[in-house]
């Protein structure tokens, strides 16, 4: 039950990243996605990877909360495709995680598929560097969480690396583009 709720929170966070353009909305999206995924990872891979991912996602959310377009920027005009993406990606991930694939770890499968799919779609569809960096942080966390799907793969080192990358992308400040 906890895993299912956590997976739903992950989808909510990913949806916020898809639907928001402002720094508050993006930061809340990263925070929710990380919170949900960390709980799922805790259940499947133990506390150390979960805490590492939570730390990385928390730092990314903190960095995004203080830099980027002001406000929430939730569902600006023309957001219908993004809403469709949020709902459609969630349903597709749910179908693959519970209908196509089998075995334990259904919540982790759903969370990883949702995060990777929606974050990559967001990176491809926006011109905003801040939005892309936010989505990249989430992709890093999801890649590390996916290591938990393999019982033989160590989850700690990918989690530590993902935390470092997520925190780095959250606090990265871009200068003015320059001609070479």
């Amino acid at each position: 039950m906890i895993e299912a709720i956590a997976a739903a929170v992950t989808w909510l966070g990913a949806s916020l990243i898809v639907l928001a353009d402002g720094r508050r909305g993006l930061a809340l999206g990263v925070a929710l996605a990380t919170l949900g995924l960390s709980v799922v990872v805790w259940q499947d891979a133990g506390p150390v990877p979960a805490l590492l991912l939570a730390a990385g996602g928390g730092l990314a959310a903190g960095g995004r909360a203080v830099a980027g377009p002001a406000g929430w920027g939730l569902m600006p005009p023309g957001s219908t495709p993004r809403i469709v993406l949020s709902v459609g990606a969630g349903l597709l991930a749910l179908w693959i995680a519970l209908g196509i694939t089998s075995g334990p770890g259904g919540a982790l499968r759903f969370a990883v598929l949702t995060l990777v799919g929606m974050a990559v779609a967001r990176v491809l569809s926006t011109e905003s560097a801040e939005v892309q960096l936010t989505a990249a942080a989430v992709v890093a966390i999801a890649v590390a969480a996916a290591a938990g799907l393999d019982a033989n793969a160590p989850a700690v080192w990918p989690s530590a690396a993902a935390a470092f990358i997520a925190a780095g992308t959250g606090w990265l400040r871009l200068g003015v583009p320059r001609a070479a």
């Binding site: 196509i100 694939t101 089998s102 075995g103 770890g105 499968r109 990883v112 598929l113 990777v116 799919g117 974050a119 990559v120 990176v123 491809l124 926006t126 011109e127 905003s128 560097a129 892309q132 960096l133 989505a135 990249a136 992709v139 890093a140 999801a142 890649v143 590390a144 996916a146 290591a147 799907l149 393999d150 793969a153 160590p154 080192w157 990918p158 690396a161 993902a162 990358i165 780095g168 992308t169 990265l172 871009l174 200068g175 583009p177 320059r178 001609a179 070479a180």
Partner: protein, 347 residues
Amino acid sequence: MLPEAEELLVLVAAGLVFAFVFAPTAIPRRSLVIQGGAGVVAGAAIAVVPTFDLALLVLLGLGTVDAAMGGLRTFAVRMRAPVLAVGIFALALVFLRVEGPDVLARFAAVGLVAGLAAAVGLLPYIHPFEADEATPASPLVWTVFVGPLLAAVVVARAQSFIPVDAGEAFAAMLIGIGLLNMAWGAIAAWLTASKEAAWRYSFLADWGLVLCGFGLTLLDGRRAAMLILFSIVTCRLPLYLVAREPVEKRSPTEGPLNLLVAAALAGSAPFVGFAARVLLLRGATQLFWPLALVIAIAMLLWLPGSFRLGRSMGLPRGRQALGVAIVLAVNVVAGLYPLPLLTVAGL
């Protein structure tokens, strides 16, 4: 670390040193060291890390750093390909790790090839070109410095964790994408209006040969892929850098040197590209002879583009002339006696 990766790492590092010493003054040395060096270091990290998950995170980190360093293309444009590659690789890993129908493993095989194409910048995920962009800020970092090591790692990992049925799909995808890049890259290098774009398409054509070599799943194929990667790093890259001299300082010429350069780029004997092509055709003949016929026809497409690129070199002088001479000599030696290269790579 894989023996192939060790050799490729030495080669790309040597390619970077060559670029630093012999590239025209128009290419900023500081950017070359920083962005090229970041590519070499990331490539080494990709080859060294114990799990593929860590390799993906290295790739994502490099993509972010490379995009943040700037250039003529915007951050958003530069960021897309690496993140797309990591996302596709991640989905492929998920499909390989979960229980489910056999078709999931085939989707994973497709994802591994698609991710590799996206990371290197091959069709159908070609990185956008900006003809005026400085070389270190261009997609060349991915094509030349990171790509060879990533390809070696992906192919080696795929052999260990893809089931046999999906392995056939993986090989077929490599050959299919390879043929697409060979044909498209060679024809575009011949017909495109821009000289810069022609050079970059020629890298794609060579990468098509590499993918075909890896896809043959025979020793000859892997040997051919290794030699083509050697040719990309030690022949096409340095010649491209020399050809980057500003237009006003260089006019197309048709001297003996240009003919030699064209022959080296086209993979004629006695250059290393010829040995690679012979190995590739021999492997393809063993596997399925009509494939060898298609590859042989595609190889002919290198000729007109290579003559064009050879002419665009003009007549190098001074340090650049010495660099071109070294490049041609190294490629002749490797073409006449490639065995040491292959032995060091464990092939």
